[in-house]
Amino acid sequence: MTATYRLDSTSAAPAPQNAPPANDSPATARRAGRRATGRARRAETRAGIAMAAPAILLLLGFLIVPVLLGFALAFTNARLISPEPTRFVGWDNFVRAFTIDPSFFHSLINTFAFAAVVVPVQAGFGLFLALLVNQKIRGVTAFRVIFFIPVVTSIVVVSILWKFMYQGNGLVNSFINSVTFGAWQGTAWLNNPNTALGAIIVLSIWQAVGFHMLIWLSGLQTIPQELYEAARMDGAGTWQQFKNVTWPCLRSTRVFVLITITIAALGLFVQIDVMTQGGPVDSTTTLVYHAVRVGYSQQQIGYGSALSLIFFVIVLIIALVQRFLTRDKD
């Protein structure tokens, strides 16, 4: 899971300058009152800054500064290890990415293919599960817990387990074999260029869907029961209730789920790193994995930074488009 950070600066107006010395009059009393509130506000501002400072410093040191450094490095030939000085090379890295790096092209395609499947399927499946566990029946909490267990399991552990399950003689194929009475033989899912990405999509959805189920569930529970009662009075069936009450009321939840899944899906890395290392034959390499590989294991930090910058711009554009499409139209 990737998290996103928003730096919201609390707007603190600069405190007014000291008022000129005043004589006794109702006006001065008012002014003194204003001064007092001004002082209070100043103290509040100071306290606010003091409280926000640790987080802001950490974000600056570990997020903002590295990001800016990364942008700067993208235009150089910087190496992780090199006795030679770093040179400014302009757009060379970007040209290299779009012309002579076949893996970059594959990474781009795979990243988008992954997101294009995961975003609608995981969001839809999450909503479906949320509707299921939103019933008032006994034992529903147990189901919520079961669906949520994969989310709190480390993705590395999940990936290793699924890697074993996907083997030619693994659990998945044994299951297929027994269900179809041997009519359909599975393949070694992760070693086949045609099935590897699909296999990773399935495991990723399974792992993360519980989290979005919870988000949907919290959205469902904010919908007032009176609306459903009124709908039932008007003779609405289950489907009509969902269409005319549930769906419109979930608007803000929908936007949140859509954007978080998109960002998480585009940042696919751990599953690839653990399970396939981009293979077989580049069929599962992703932008983040490729950037880490060239930037870190091949020591080409400049080029890796350029790939990260491309990735950043792509995510930014997609997020802005989504914001635009889901904006409040009133």
Partner: protein, 430 residues
Amino acid sequence: MRQSLSIIAAAGLLASVSLTGCAKASHDGSASGGGPVQITMWTHSAGNPGELAVYKKIITDFNASQSKYQVVQQNFPQGSYNDAITSAAAAHKLPCLMDMDGPIMPNWAWAGYLQPLNLPSSLIDGLLPTAVGRYKGEVYSAGYWDAAMAIFARKSVLTEAGVRVPTVDQPWTLDEFNAVNAKLKAAGYDTPLDLGAADKGEWWSYAYSPMLASAGGDEIDRTAMKSADGKLNGPDAVRFFTWFQQAFKKGWTNNNGPVGNQNFIDNKVALSYTGVWNAQDALQKVGSDLLVLPPVDFGHGAKIGGASWQWGISTACGTQQSEGARAYLQYSFQDKYLTDFADSQVVIPSTSTAAAASKYFGPNGSLHQFAELSQKFALARPATPGYPVISTTFEKAAKDIMNGADVKSTLDTAVQAIDSDISSNNNYGS
């Protein structure tokens, strides 16, 4: 608002600058009060109690043997060790003594992390050739041991299948090896051979580039170290990688894992291409039925990977401390310590006298054939600063080929990646 934000921004920058530590730590600290000079030492051995115990013993003995220097040890887990070194170098905080995986040494020497070792030649000449790291004619690193690989098999299984047991003088030829795999598959082994293909990382270059060299190819043209063209994508390399791909296609081997030697222990595979580090366990489980066979001769003589972890002295070391570091290294290369390492880690001692004293690698030791394999067949990986890129590129190409990619075009792409990296680094100063 703008004012307070800019203050915060400035403070943040200041903090991050002090976090990254632009102040260069002085490493020439002769200790205060005229005590012994402190010599910092980093190992990659965290989590390996056997190895650490020997280091602790050497350091304690050395510190007690004289009063001029004091070695101070810090341990890192192997997985993040190289990252720690790289970060420390960027922050000018390298330790004096550091160990390193053999093939990474030229990269670090070229980057200016290491100074020439300058140990007496009598000491260096007595070590296994693959336990000494040379770059541009200078010795930069030396190790207490080397590892070796072999093919593990069961005598009973080979006898039953009517297979000739190969010897060091007469390893299996490729044709023989193909016939052996076919026979063993027919004998009921689902996959007769475990090549360790489930593993990842440096293992690929370590395990399979010697096979490529044995077939007449290589990861790079070693004469000039400027291009891989004709070596990694020449006809010999294409022949080898076609065989490699076929071995998976025909079901002789697979990459299911588990990593290690468990499949052989469980008799799920008949042949296991693995290292000396798994030998002790195999001996216990398989007993006298265990055969340790030489690697396959792909046409240009059998080869196995050489060069394991070695020690070097960093450039961050002051003159006085460098002398101390040298004194320590010289002291540490005593046979008794090398034997201790060998017997606790099951690795091959780098001097013949230490090997003679070892319970595993002595003339009557149960694993002495590994020492023989290492002396006869060991081939170091290319000693060039470009090695990290060569290794990762080799791994990717070999994995793609294993998964059915077109052999020739995959190798051509790999050559292009390696060559463009070398030229973009001005041939790594060669």
